[in-house]
């Protein structure tokens, strides 16, 4: 089968890392000296947005004595590598993260600098950002992150032509969505495309339904450590509604074999084989890249439908409020870091991001939207996010990173019927919350 034994190498890599880490941990403990080369290192997730980050770094370096250096790690490896270096001398000064649970363990290990002092000196570091977004990086009452990219609310996208042919209007309520599912099925298309093979797209249905039915409090309670939240009547109601939707054939039968990341579900909608897809706002540019003509002509979008009798505000959104820069406690140049972060609400920053289709979450974004590449779509998102009473961070990012694998398993298993309601509740209760 395999020609070589992989395990020893896997073990060796793991243990060598362990060796390196424990040695360095012994060497300098937590607050130890990082190698100071008179620069601040900014570590980011490697993707298309890097060119703007480089531009910001260049701008910063023009006026600053302490120079900034941009380091990137290709996307899929980011979280693992960050976790590996964060407590070593190789740790960056400033790094990219998802706020919430993704930085909680670092805060707990006393690695991050609370940004209160920065904000005291320059209130703009807080006031110039949309509050619902800024708050996603507040841990234990203290701010630990400054929004540094675009917001990514999850929207319900659709193929206008498919809906039209089936005589369906974009749904505003859950009942309308159920009715639309029936009609689309009769028309012979998969009502809703879902990349279940990646699991996180499946999770989006959970996030929104829980928020609409129970309000954000339920999830806040659960992640705060009160696991009884998962047993509540609202939680069970949300699960029932998910089951009902799946059983009605809304997602077809093979969603677990479809992936978003290899373009499978994207193509389902673009080719007219499916009506809807629930996805983050990056979906628009994804379709634009993969299926330009469709994206320009027939791609529609709405907010997630309202659920009658639900406790959650219908204006709430879910997704990734933004990504954040956090500052390491042991940085040698906190003043320079503070100066660097101020660029995150500059006009230059906002314009540059709008140009590549990102939507920054600063209060000055508004005045540049109309001159952006896709003003209508950008405006829709901006209004949605700035009017939202609550922005629910994706569950797998809100929980500590170590919970995400087990969470994904539970979500996939409940969705395809391997777990019943009680089984799902138990699995969610078993997740670590800190």
């Amino acid at each position: 089968m395999k020609t070589r034994a992989r395990l020893p190498r896997l073990v060796a890599t793991g243990a060598t890392l362990a060796l390196a880490l424990s040695l360095s941990a012994c060497g300098d403990g937590n607050g130890g000296a990082s190698s100071d080369d008179g620069k601040i290192h900014v570590l980011v997730y490697g993707d298309a947005s890097n060119k703007i980050e480089q531009q910001i770094v260049d701008t910063f370096n023009k006026t600053s004595d302490v120079k900034a250096v941009l380091d990137t790690i290709p996307g899929a490896d980011y979280q693992t590598k960050l976790q590996t270096i964060i407590n070593t001398p190789q740790a960056p000064d400033i790094f990219y993260n998802w706020g919430g649970g993704s930085i909680k363990p670092f805060v707990k290990a006393d690695l991050l600098l609370p940004l209160d002092d920065f904000i005291k000196k320059d209130p703009g570091l807080k006031d110039k950002f949309l509050p619902s977004v800024f708050n996603s990086a507040v841990v234990d009452g203290k701010p630990y992150g400054i929004p540094m990219r675009g917001t990514q609310p999850v929207l319900l996208f659709h193929n206008k032509k498919v809906l039209e042919d089936a005589g369906v209007q974009p749904p505003k309520t859950w009942d309308e969505l159920l009715a639309a599912v029936g009609k689309l099925k009769d028309a012979g298309v998969t009502p809703i495309a879902l990349g279940g093979g990646d699991v996180w797209p499946t999770q989006m249905w959970f996030q929104y339904l829980y928020d609409r039915i129970a309000g954000p409090e339920l999830f806040a309670k659960a992640i705060g450590g009160d696991k009884s939240a998962w047993e509540s009547a609202d939680s069970k109601k949300a699960l029932d509604m998910i089951s009902e939707l799946v059983d009605s054939g809304a997602f077809g039968k093979n969603y677990d074999s479809v992936k978003y990341t290899n373009g499978g579900s994207v193509q389902l909608v673009a080719s007219g084989k499916a009506g809807f897809e629930l996805m983050g706002s990056w979906y628009y540019s994804q379709q634009l890249t993969d299926h330009k003509e469709f994206a320009e002509k027939d791609l529609g979008y709405t907010a997630f439908p309202t659920v009658e009798g639900g406790k959650g505000d219908p204006g709430n959104v879910a997704g990734n409020p933004n990504n954040y820069y956090s500052v390491m406690k042991k940085t040698k140049h906190p003043e320079a870091a503070a100066e660097f972060l101020k660029l995150m609400y500059s006009d230059e920053f906002v314009k540059a991001h709008l140009d590549i289709g990102n939507l920054p979450t600063t209060t000055n974004t508004d005045k540049f939207i109309d001159s952006s590449a896709t003003p209508e779509y950008t405006r829709f998102q901006y209004d949605l996010v700035s009017d939202a009473p609550n922005f629910q961070l994706s569950w797998d990012q809100a929980y500590p990173q170590k919970a995400s694998s087990d969470m994904h398993k539970a979500i996939q298993q409940f969705f395809n019927g391997q777990l019943d309601t009680d089984g799902f509740i138990k699995a969610m209760q078993a997740l670590p919350t800190e």
């Binding site: 089968m1 093979n254 677990d256 074999s257 398993k409």
Partner: protein, 318 residues
């Protein structure tokens, strides 16, 4: 994580090779390797295999998330592992996939290997084509098949009489089938190569004698070729078993252990615990258990097959 694990591949042939000594040159020891020759390799092995293995063993008694300092927890990880239904399931799945690999690949690669050892027309060209899957990395192969097996736009969408609704990755039986198939597709060429070499080494005189005795092609195959391939078969099967026990990338890319935990084999479970759930203690325990299991199984195979006696298949021939 995975990419650099898979890309850095030293050119490793069958490992048993190193045991074989070159034939002793007559009367003189000039040019014969002394122990000193083994020092660099031994140092390397100690540094990158033995030391990490010991550290993993130590780590398996600790609780560590990679950030805070490791904490000694005694047998905690091990008792958790013993009570963990997913661990038990993963051992089952690992064995199942290993057996499937041996059962599927052995007959295929013997037939192909023996055929490729002959002198047919176009044989060389076809052999090269058969060999191609081995040249691709397991990662590339897995990405390729994941795309080819897309239920709506891949092969299943065209061949509906065979694949039904195409939900290959959504059910345990079909997901395992896909994993076994993809591994077979990739590694049969390698084993074919072993059998091709072995089949070429079978002395022609045996076939000539058989022909004189009036044995047909099938008799020749079952009574000469197959017995002569015995040692190669053992080499090939050991490689298949060790490879099967440590299958990783195909699962990582094709199924991520899913649906649920239905294809979570032990090596993937270790990765899941150590590198996704940041629980290095229990990950180390799984790794160590795997090392022990793989060693025992390899030893059993070597012992049972008589491979350790190094009997020559040429006995009684020349």
């Amino acid at each position: 994580m995975t990419t650099h694990l898979t890309s850095a591949r030293p050119a490793a042939g069958p490992r048993k090779e190193s045991r074989r000594r070159p034939p002793a040159s007559s009367a003189t020891t000039v040019g014969r390797p002394s122990f000193a020759w083994a020092v660099p390799a031994a140092l390397f092995f100690a540094l990158f295999a033995i030391v990490p293995l010991i550290m993993v063993a130590v780590l398996s008694f600790m609780s560590w998330d990679g950030i805070s300092s490791p904490e000694f927890v005694g047998m905690d990880n091990w008792s958790r592992l013993i009570d963990d239904p997913v661990m038990l399931k993963s051992i089952w799945l690992t064995l199942l996939l290993t057996v499937l690999g041996v059962v599927l690949q052995t007959p295929l690669s013997i037939l192909l290997g023996v055929w490729a050892a002959g002198h047919q027309r176009n044989r060389a060209v076809l052999s090269v084509i058969y060999f191609i899957p081995l040249l691709l990395s397991a990662t590339a192969v897995s990405v390729l098949w994941r795309a080819l097996l897309d239920p709506n736009f891949g092969i299943p969408a065209e061949v509906t009489w065979l694949f039904g609704d195409g939900n290959l990755f959504g059910e345990q039986s079909t997901a395992i089938g896909v994993l076994a198939f993809v591994s077979t597709w990739q590694f049969t060429p390698f084993h074919t190569l072993i059998y091709q070499g072995a089949a070429r080494a079978v002395p022609q005189v045996l076939y000539q004698a058989a022909e004189i005795d009036g044995a047909g092609r099938y008799r020749q195959f079952f009574h000469i070729t197959l017995p002569q391939l015995r040692t190669s078969m053992i080499t090939s099967m050991i490689l298949m078993i060790v490879g099967g026990l440590t299958t990783f990338e195909t699962v990582l890319i094709l199924t991520q252990g899913g649906p649920g935990t239905d294809t979570t084999i032990s090596a993937y479970y270790m990765y899941d615990k150590a590198f996704k759930s940041f629980d290095y203690g229990i990950g180390s325990a799984i790794a160590l258990a795997l090392v022990v299991a793989a060693t025992i199984i390899s030893l059993i195979v070597v012992r049972v097959s008589g491979y350790d006696k190094m009997r020559s298949s040429m006995e009684g021939v020349s």
